[in-house]
């Protein structure tokens, strides 16, 4: 997807959001909508100007996809044309972005299923195993130390009641 298309997609999402706020504000009393309603209208005006602005400028002026990950990728494909390099870079960026989203999603999923403390152990250990940055022994030590530190700080010292996720009935029966 081109830079301009991405920017337009983001702006369209914002337009939909502000329109939704205006629609929801109709249910509020005059005092409750005194600030949100004009603000959402202001947001729509700004977004429309932004859409016009970004479509009247050259693509080079849309400074997106500038994260450093692209540089080594572009450099790694010598001989290819500029267009092919850009396409390859965009494809890799999308893959890595999906990966990062997956990492965050995996931790969230683990917390919801296993609870906070086991999720920290499984996520950190799993991450070390998948990335192969450290030997399994070092990974296990780092994971155990982090989990113990989190447990001691949050559960023992700060007395935060940990969330047990789907394992909650099991923990309750054990208690």
């Amino acid at each position: 997807m081109s830079r301009r298309a991405q920017e337009n997609l983001a702006a369209a999402a914002l337009l939909a959001l502000f329109a939704g706020v205006i629609w929801l504000c109709q249910d509020f009393g005059p005092r409750a909508r005194m600030i949100p309603l004009p603000l959402a209208v202001f947001g729509i005006v700004l977004t429309v100007i932004q859409i016009l602005w970004q479509n009247l400028r050259s693509t080079d002026e849309l400074h997106i996809d500038m994260i450093p990950v692209q540089k080594p990728v572009a450099a790694a494909t010598p001989g290819a044309g500029a267009g092919a390099e850009a396409n390859a870079a965009t494809r890799v960026t999308w893959r890595r972005e999906a990966g990062a989203l997956g990492i965050v999603g995996a931790l969230l999923g683990l917390i919801l299923v296993t609870g906070i403390i086991p999720a920290v152990f499984l996520f950190t250990g799993g991450y070390f195993v998948v990335t192969r940055q450290y030997s399994w022994r070092a990974s296990l030590i780092y994971t155990a130390v982090l989990t113990a530190a989190v447990y001691l700080l949050f559960v023992v010292a700060l007395q935060v009641q940990p969330y047990h996720g789907l394992l909650s009935p099991l923990v309750e029966s054990f208690n």
């Binding site: 400074h63 982090l146 969330y163």
Partner: protein, 496 residues
């Protein structure tokens, strides 16, 4: 008076008081570094352990812990762009770029020295100003608070580099995000979609964990390199540079400290606003505002000096009237009551030695934090060079646990995730995350004070409140200042 100053200090020289102060400071530093947890949590958790000890020792434990969280918050903001709590947010804007440029030691030392100087100025002014502050506080009402919140919004242009339009859109989004939940003025649930969880609104620390910490870890996972790659960027700075920076910008420190003191005196404004306001004034008064956001050391010194002085300011209304300046001061008030201390005008006559004990606690705790902080800075400065494959799982895990610990609700982990993705997209498409947060912080203050002003004084409230009118003129002036400077600079260039 001199006798009270001496006996205030003597009360803190007992073995119990010294031990409690040390425990409080170390504990506060640890809590400050944990994401989502700040001074309020630190003090609230200590409260049950304070019964049956010496008065001065108990207050040293509580206030020492609270003061230490200020620098603890700053550490993670500077090193990882992960604010320990709302207060540390302003440190991300220039502290993190400094770290990426190999100047972590300088930034940490400037931050610690700024906080120390701010704390000392705050303590001195607390001692001097208690008798004078009453008429000032009584002269200010909701209209004046509204103007102060509007002044905070003038910083938006600073963070809208590239596109002012996108910066403004980000601010509008932030303000709207702050309106999620029950409207306290009209008792109307807004944008809650029937969710009981959303009725309480979006927790500000959780939103920040998502916007800054989770999104930064996503970026790091994508890049696959450390925050600071030592093969490309070496640590070029020293701690001494940071200390000298703070001393060299002494006028900025004084201005920021007075601002922090002033914001601390005003009940309900809070240290998160203080940090942002300090950053705004540092930018607006700088001769080179274009350096801010790219690693200007003044952007680190100003917020820390303000937050250091803020504590002294917050103590003034707490001691003089029994009106807490913020949440942490409310907890201190609870401690006062449990210790049999009754805040009010009597504090200045019958309990003057205790007042000076508090002043001394601020001084000693700030010195201790700075000494410990400077001592551990060389080790802290190495953390950003750890590999992404070690940083990402550790920081993400601690952030999610921190988000959950803020209110003990699993929904906050969802909120951190959603705001993390939002923060990543905002950063990618250059919609300023800082503006989003500024909008979020100031929205509630603006709306509440606007409603109260309209109810009390009607639509022409500005005309009925001359101080508010003067402040409004000041807001317009400071908002126009960057544009005026730009215009003058362009005119000079054209003339040359």
């Amino acid at each position: 008076m001199l006798e009270a100053i001496a006996s205030g200090l003597a009360a803190l020289l007992t073995p119990q008081a010294v031990l409690f102060m040390l425990i409080g400071v170390i504990y506060g530093l640890v809590i400050g570094i944990l994401p989502g947890l700040g001074g309020v949590v630190a003090m609230a958790l200590l409260l049950p352990f304070t019964y049956g000890f010496e008065k001065a020792a108990t207050l040293a434990l509580l206030l020492g812990a609270h003061i230490a969280t200020i620098w603890g918050d700053s550490v993670t903001s500077i090193l990882f762009s992960v604010p320990g709590s709302a207060k540390g947010l302003a440190l991300c804007f220039d502290g993190y770029p400094m770290t990426k440029q190999g100047q972590a030691k300088r930034a940490l030392a400037a931050s610690a020295t700024g906080a120390l100087l701010g704390g000392l100025i705050g303590a001195v002014f607390l001692a001097l100003c208690i008798p004078l502050i009453r008429p000032v506080i009584l002269a200010l009402g909701p209209s004046e608070y509204l103007m102060m919140a509007l002044w905070g919004l003038t910083v938006i242009a600073t963070f809208s580099q590239g596109s002012l339009m996108k910066g403004l859109i980000a601010s509008v989004l932030g303000v709207l995000a702050a309106f999620i939940g029950m409207d306290v003025v009209t008792a109307t649930p807004r944008f809650t979609f029937g969710s009981e969880f959303l009725m309480d609104g979006i927790s500000f620390p959780v939103a920040m964990i998502g916007l800054f910490a989770v999104s930064e870890m996503m970026k790091l996972a994508i890049q696959g390199t450390p925050i600071v790659d030592r093969s490309l960027v070496t640590e070029v700075s020293t701690m001494w540079q940071g200390i000298k920076d703070a001393l060299r910008h002494w006028w900025l420190v004084v201005r920021s400290s007075l601002l922090g003191l002033w914001i601390g005196v005003l009940p309900g404004v809070g240290a998160s606003v203080a940090g942002l306001a300090a950053y705004a004034q540092a930018v607006q008064t700088s001769k080179t505002p274009e350096r801010f956001g790219k690693g200007a050391v003044e952007g680190v010194i100003a917020p820390d000096a303000t937050m250091g002085a803020n504590e002294g300011g917050g103590l003034m209304p707490t001691l003089a009237f029994g009106i807490p300046g913020g949440e942490s001061m409310a907890i201190l008030l609870v401690a006062f009551i449990s210790l049999g201390i009754v805040p009010g005008p009597d504090m200045l006559t019958k309990n003057l030695d205790l007042v000076f004990s508090l002043v001394w606690i601020i001084v000693i705790a700030n010195v201790l934090v700075t000494v410990i902080g400077l001592g551990i800075t060389p080790w802290l400065a190495r953390l950003p060079s750890l590999h992404a494959n070690l940083m990402v799982p550790i920081v993400l895990s601690v952030c999610f646990v921190g988000a959950y610990a803020t209110r003990g609700r699993i929904e906050d982990v969802w909120v951190a995730t959603v705001f993390g993705v939002l923060g990543y997209l905002m950063d990618k498409y250059q919609y300023s995350r800082a503006n989003f947060v500024i909008g979020m912080v100031l929205a509630v203050m603006i709306e509440r004070n606007l409603h109260i002003s309209l109810t009390l004084y009607g639509k022409d409230f500005l005309l009925q409140r001359p101080i508010a009118l003067a402040m409004f003129a000041f807001v317009l002036f400071t908002a126009a200042l960057p544009f005026l400077r730009n215009w003058r600079r362009n005119r000079k260039v054209v003339a040359a």
